[in-house]
Every structure is written in structure tokens, then in C-alpha cells.
């Protein structure tokens, strides 16, 4: 008998039957799919936390750094970046700031958000502690464009740029952003 067994060729290994395992997974997925499809909403909402210019007393003071203030003005599709940088000249008195303006004309009829992000990134590198930027849209600018601008100011390729956005505009910003010549020297 043992000799006969030795003469018989060995049985090929039988692949394990995967069907029961796969079928249970498919069953579970088929249950989950209709449940998710029926209960999901088409609109997924998101919130943009905002602060208003003019309430400077309520805003937390910024840590001292090279960037004193940042403003982004939006009119139709044109952007203007105003930045106040502390003067580091030896002849300058402490707290002196220099305002500079960068005009970003529309590109293909749309806001030059990439150009703005590039300019903001340079300022961010200059003073990484400065998180706040004042966004001042014109009155006639539609809200969708304001939201697009706020998005571009807050994040760049998923990385935070200036996450603290303060909304301004004619009357609201009058207390928050004094013009360059009246800017008080910081202590």
C-alpha cells in the first residue's frame, strides 16, 4: 500500500476558496453604498472665520517683527498689496515703518492670485510670526470674488500663508489701518 502511494504522483495544491470572504465584503459594501448615497447632501458647507477691521481693540496684538501691517486691496479684478515694514536703517528712529505698494493687474481678466501669493510668501519668510492681513474689497466686488481672495491669502498649496484675515472696507477699515504718515511708532 505504501509502495502504491509512493508511485502515485502528489496531488497539486488546491487554491483556497476566496468566495465566502469576498462575498461578505461585497454584501457589506452594497449595504453601505445606498445608505451613504441616500443620506449625503449635495452641498458641503465650510466656514471662513472672519474678523472685522475697526475692532482693533478686540484683536490680539501681533508679536513684534519686521512686518508691521499688511493690506490687500481689491477693485474689480485688480489687486494692490500694501505692506508696512519696520525700518532697520541705523539712522531711523525706533518704530519707523516704510510703506510699499505692489500693483497686481488682472491676468486674462481674472485676479492675479498666484502673483499675490508669491508676494505674500516673500513677506511671510521675512516675518513668519505675522499671521494677520487686512483684506479691503471695493463695494461693488461680488462676494464670490472676496471669498476666492480670502482663500488665496489664507492658504497656498495647502500650506497656511496668512490664516488670520481681517475684513475691511471704507468705513470699517478707517480705524484699523491708519495711513502711513499717521502710523504711530510701536513700542
Amino acid at each position: 500500500m505504501s509502495q502504491l502511494r509512493r508511485l502515485r504522483p502528489p496531488r497539486p495544491p488546491v487554491a483556497p476558496d476566496l468566495r465566502p470572504g469576498l462575498l461578505s465584503v461585497v454584501g457589506l459594501l452594497f449595504l453601505l453604498l445606498p445608505f451613504l448615497l441616500l443620506t449625503t447632501s449635495i452641498q458641503k458647507l465650510t466656514g471662513l472665520d472672519l474678523q472685522l477691521a475697526g475692532s482693533t481693540g478686540e484683536l490680539a496684538p501681533l508679536p513684534p517683527g519686521q512686518v508691521e501691517a499688511l493690506e490687500v486691496h481689491l477693485s474689480a479684478h485688480a489687486l494692490k498689496l500694501r505692506s508696512a515694514l519696520r525700518t532697520r536703517d541705523v539712522t531711523a528712529s525706533q518704530g519707523d515703518v516704510t510703506w510699499s505698494e505692489t500693483d497686481l493687474p488682472p491676468v486674462d481678466g481674472a485676479m492675479d492670485l498666484a502673483g499675490l501669493q508669491g508676494a505674500l510668501l516673500r513677506l511671510r519668510v521675512l516675518d513668519p510670526e505675522h499671521d494677520r492681513v487686512l483684506v479691503v474689497p471695493d463695494d461693488q466686488v461680488p462676494t464670490s470674488r472676496v471669498v476666492a481672495l480670502v482663500d488665496a491669502v489664507r492658504f497656498r498649496s495647502g500650506q497656511p500663508l496668512f490664516p488670520e484675515v481681517v475684513l475691511g472696507g471704507a468705513e470699517l477699515s478707517s480705524h484699523a489701518a491708519p495711513p502711513a504718515h499717521t502710523l504711530e511708532p510701536s513700542p
Partner: protein, 146 residues
């Protein structure tokens, strides 16, 4: 011979199941990624559309202020006419200010139609702040939604 045939017939048949599981898994992941239980904003007004945003901050509970082309609603109730405040210079929207003071809320979610000029949004935000609201959130439609 019969034994050989029988063995071949018993071989597990899993060919079409594997791609099916793959497709369903991909569908499931997409659905889970875009899943949302947010109630539609102003379903009675088909022209109302929120601006799109790349932000993914979830919306917290607060008093809802809806700003449409025609009117301003607080918690679904018409409070002021948008057209009036778009044409006039008044910065404070009296009706909204009174309503919010009465409700005593500390946080509001402002849901604005994407086409509304910023002038009106500014007035709404200003009135809310004057009424004592401390947290202002502008609501937008997430780009990650369906």
C-alpha cells in the same frame, strides 16, 4: 478522468468579484470623502448659490443670516430688504441689529449669495458686530463636496 474533471469544476471562481469589489471600494471612498449632512441652504430659492471655497473648516452651530438678492433673513425669517440697503448709504441695518440684539447670540453664520456686492455683506457684518456678536463666520460651499 472523472476525478480530474470534478477537481477542475471545484476550482474557486473569483474572477468577476475582484474588480467589482475594487469599483465599490473606490465609490465608497469617494462618498466618504465628500459625505456631508449639511442641510441645503435656501432650498426654496433656486437662484441662491453660495461662493465656492477651498477651506475645509466645519460649520459650527450659530444663528444663520441669509443674504439673498431680495432680502436678509435671520434664522429663516425675512428681516430686511437687500435692495434698500444696497441703494442707501446706511451702514447699520436697523432691522438686523434689533433682531440680533433680541436673540442674544454670540456667533452668527453669514450665508451670502455669491453675486451679492460686498457693500451689503459689509453692512451685515457691521450690524452683527454692533449687536454684540463676537464670532462671525462667512459660509461657503466646499470644493470637496459632490
Amino acid at each position: 478522468m472523472r476525478r480530474l474533471c470534478a477537481r477542475r469544476a471545484r476550482r474557486p471562481f473569483v474572477g468577476p468579484l475582484a474588480p467589482l469589489v475594487d469599483v465599490i471600494t473606490i465609490l465608497l471612498v469617494v462618498l466618504l470623502k465628500t459625505y456631508s449632512v449639511d442641510a441645503p441652504v435656501r432650498p426654496d430659492d433656486p437662484s441662491f448659490s453660495l461662493p465656492l471655497s477651498a477651506s475645509e473648516t466645519p460649520v459650527g452651530p450659530a444663528i444663520d443670516i441669509d443674504v439673498t438678492v431680495d432680502a436678509i433673513y435671520v434664522s429663516g425669517q425675512r428681516t430686511a430688504a437687500s435692495t434698500y440697503y444696497l441703494e442707501h448709504e446706511d451702514l447699520l441695518i436697523e432691522e438686523l441689529y434689533t433682531r440680533l440684539q433680541g436673540q442674544g447670540g454670540r456667533a452668527v453664520n453669514v450665508r451670502v449669495d455669491g453675486g451679492i456686492p460686498y457693500a451689503l455683506v459689509r453692512k451685515v457684518l457691521f450690524s452683527a458686530r454692533e449687536a454684540g456678536v463676537q464670532r462671525l463666520t462667512l459660509i461657503a460651499q466646499s470644493r470637496t463636496g459632490l
